[in-house]
Amino acid sequence: MSTPKQLPRWADLILLPLVGLAAALLLSCGVIALLGESPWQAMRLMVDGAFGSQESIGYSLFYATNFIFTGLAVAVAFHAGLFNIGGEGQAYIGGLGAGLVCLWLGHWPFWAVLPLAVMGAAGFGAAWAFLPGLLQAKRGSHIVITTIMFNFIASALMTYLLVNVLIKPGQQSPETREFGSNSWMPFAHEILARVGLDFTATPLNLAFVLALGAAGLVWVFIWHTRWGYALRVVGQSPEAAVYAGISPSRITIMAMLLSGALAGGLGLNELMGSQHRILIDFPGGAGFVGIAVALMGRNHPVGIVFSAILFGALYQGGSQLTFDMPRVNRDMVVVIQGLVILSCGALENMFRQPLTALLGRRRKSGEGRS
C-alpha cells in the first residue's frame, strides 16, 4: 500500500541529500570524538583540506573528475534498469585503451592524439562492458554478477599485460614507460597560466572539462533523444518497451556500451592527465565510488557532478585529515565516506518520511492561512 506522499522536487533533489550529508557528518563527529580528537577541529581540517587552498581545490576536482566519469557510467546503466558494478574494470581497461594510444602516438601533436585517446578509452571501456551486456540481454545472466566477474578478469588481464608485455624493461614496478609528453593532458595551472591566471600546480587537468562535457552529453542523450527515451522506457518498464516496439535486449547492450565508454573516461584523467603511464590498479576504487556518486546524484548529470565534487572533497579533505590528525587514519576516512553513502542512499527513506511530514504540515498551515 504505497501512499501518494511526495516531496516537492527541490526538497527531493537538494534538501534530502543535504540532510543525509549532515547526519553522516554528525555521526562521523561522534566517531572522531571517540578517538579522542576534536570533531570541530577535524571537520575544519577536512573542509579546509578540501577547499581551503588552490592546491586542495585542484586535488578535490581532480578526484571529482574520476567520480564524474564513473558516476555517469553507473547512471546511464541505471536509467536502463541495469546495475553496472563493473565501472572499476571498465575504467581499468578503458585506461589501457587511452594508454596504448598515448604510448603509440605520444609524439603526435596533442590535438591529434586527444580524439584518438578519447576513442581508445571509450572504445576499450565499452568493449569491456559489451559481454556482460550481451549475456544479460541474450542469456539473462545477471549483470551484477557478470560485471563483478569482469572486474576480476580486468584486473588479472592488466596485471598480466603490465608484468609481461607492457612493462618498461629493467624496472621492478609493473608499469609502462612514460607517455610521450605531447600526449599529456594540459594541466589546469598550465591552461590558466596561458590566460594570465596563477594557479598552484595540481593534477587537475583538461579531463575535468571533458568530464563536464560528458555530463552535458549524457543529459542531452537521456532526456532529449529518442534513444535516451527508449533507454528510459526499458529501465522503467520492460513490458511497456516491448509494447512500444523497443527491444529491451538491444537497449541493454547499448546502455552497457555507453556505460563502459563513460567509465573508460577515468583513464583520460588518471593516466593522460596525471600519471602519464599505465600502472597497476590506477582506478583505485573510483568505479565503486561511482555507484555512491550516482545514487546521491539521483542519476542526474547535474546531481552527479555535484556529488562527485562532494566525494572528491571527502577524498581530498579526508587525506588531509589523516595527515594532520595521526589518530584518524585512512580507514577512518573510509568510515566517514561509508557513512555518507549509507545516510544518503540506504537510509534516505528514514529522512524522507519525517521531511515529508514536516513540509506537508508547513504547506497545510500555509493553505489554512491563505
Binding site: 576534536s38 578526484y63 621492478q172 596525471s274 600519471q275 600502472l279
Partner: protein, 330 residues
C-alpha cells in the same frame, strides 16, 4: 607528532621558511609514505613501520606517516611532507618510484629514500635487496629437507619482485638436487592476493597433494595460511620477509629474512646524524640485508648438516664464488 592544532599552521609556516632558507635545518623531521597495503599488512610495509617505530623510540623524534589509497596520493603526500618541512622522506615500495622521481626534482633539498626501486637523482637514496640470495638459501634448505624431491613456491601477486624470489628459490633447490621438482603458484592478480590466507592454504594443500613436502611463500599475509596448512598437513613451510619461525615451531623450516625495518631505521638515523648519502644501496647476504633465519624455533627441523651446507653456500655467495641469477624484466 601531536602538536596543538592551534599552533600548527603557524608552525608549518615557520618550518617552510626555515627549510627554504637553510637546507638541512636543525629541525629534523622524518616522514614515511606507505603503499596500498598500509602499515599493518603483516609484511613489507609493516616491517618498514617497525623500523620507523624503533627510530622514534630510540631518538624520541616522531615520524610523520601516510598510507595512500589512490595512485595520485603518493605524489601529493610527498609534496605535502616536503612542503611542511620534512627533512627525509622514506617511500616504501617500488610503486612509488615515479612519484619519488617527480617530487625529488621539485624539492632538491629534501632527502628521499626509496625501498625496492631505483631512482637516479642526487637527493635520492635507492635501497634494494638481493632477495634472490636469501631465496637461494631457502631453496637449498627446502631441497635438503625434502624427502620427495618435490618442493613448492607460493607467491602473492605475479610481479617481477616475486619472480625474483621464485628464481632464487628454484636455483637453490636445483643446486642441492638437480632433479628437484619445484611447483610454483601465484595467489592472484589483484592486491588482494597479499591478504588471502584461505587461498594460500588451498594452494599449499594442492601442492602437498602433488607431492611437495616443503613450501616457501612470498605472499604477505596470504603466507599465514600457507604456513598453517603446512603445519596441519605435517609438512614444512618457509617464511618470508620477517623471521616467521616462531609462528609454528617445528613446522617452519626457516625464513627468508629481508630487513626493510633496518633499511628504514638506518635511513632515518643516517639522515639525523648527517651521514645519509644518495645513490644506490644494494643489501645482500654480505650486508646482512637479507638472510635465512636460524633460532631456537627451527633448530629441531633445520639440522646441523643442512645448516653446514647452507652456510658454505652463503660464504661462497658472499665471496662471489657462487653467483645467483637475478630476475630481469625482459
Amino acid at each position: 607528532m601531536i602538536i596543538s592544532s592551534r599552533f600548527s599552521s603557524w608552525l608549518i609556516a615557520v618550518l617552510v621558511v626555515t627549510t627554504a632558507l637553510a637546507a638541512g635545518a636543525k629541525d629534523f623531521s622524518p616522514a614515511i609514505v606507505y603503499d596500498f597495503g598500509g602499515k599493518f599488512d603483516r609484511s613489507f610495509n609493516q616491517s618498514a613501520s617497525e623500523g620507523a617505530a624503533r627510530f622514534t623510540t630510540e631518538t624520541g623524534t616522531a615520524v610523520r606517516e601516510f598510507e595512500i589509497t589512490n595512485a595520485a596520493q603518493r605524489e601529493q603526500a610527498m609534496q605535502q611532507m616536503a612542503r611542511r618541512g620534512a627533512t627525509i622522506i622514506v617511500a616504501i615500495g617500488f610503486t612509488q618510484a615515479s612519484a619519488v622521481e617527480k617530487v625529488a626534482k621539485q624539492f632538491p633539498n629534501v632527502m628521499f629514500t626509496i625501498v625496492d626501486a631505483v631512482v637516479d637523482l642526487p637527493n635520492v637514496q635507492s635501497v634494494n635487496f638481493r632477495e634472490q640470495e636469501s631465496s637461494f638459501l631457502c631453496g637449498m634448505a627446502a631441497a635438503l629437507a625434502s624427502k620427495t624431491g618435490k618442493v613448492g613456491f607460493i607467491g602473492g601477486m605475479d610481479i617481477p619482485l616475486i619472480r625474483k624470489f621464485a628464481l632464487g628459490y628454484v636455483e637453490g633447490a636445483k643446486f642441492v638436487n638437480p632433479s628437484a621438482e619445484v611447483f610454483q603458484n601465484m595467489t592472484g592478480s589483484t592486491p588482494a592476493a597479499w591478504g588471502d590466507p584461505t587461498k594460500g592454504a588451498e594452494l599449499a594443500k594442492s601442492q602437498f597433494g602433488r607431492g611437495a613436502d616443503v613450501v616457501f611463500h612470498a605472499a604477505g599475509a596470504t603466507g599465514i595460511g600457507v604456513m598453517q596448512a603446512a603445519k596441519d598437513s605435517g609438512r614444512l613451510s618457509i617464511g618470508c620477509d620477517s623471521n616467521q619461525d616462531y609462528l609454528h615451531p617445528g613446522s617452519v623450516l626457516t625464513s627468508a629474512v629481508k630487513r626493510v625495518d633496518v633499511a628504514t631505521y638506518k635511513a632515518f638515523l643516517d639522515a639525523k646524524n648527517g651521514t645519509w648519502k644518495p645513490g644506490q644501496i644494494v643489501l645482500g647476504l654480505a650486508e646482512q640485508g637479507v638472510d635465512y633465519s636460524y633460532d631456537e624455533f627451527n633448530r629441531a627441523v633445520l639440522t646441523p648438516e643442512m645448516k653446514q651446507k647452507i652456510d658454505a653456500a652463503k660464504a661462497d655467495i658472499i665471496s662471489g664464488k657462487l653467483k645467483v641469477s637475478e630476475y630481469k624484466v625482459q
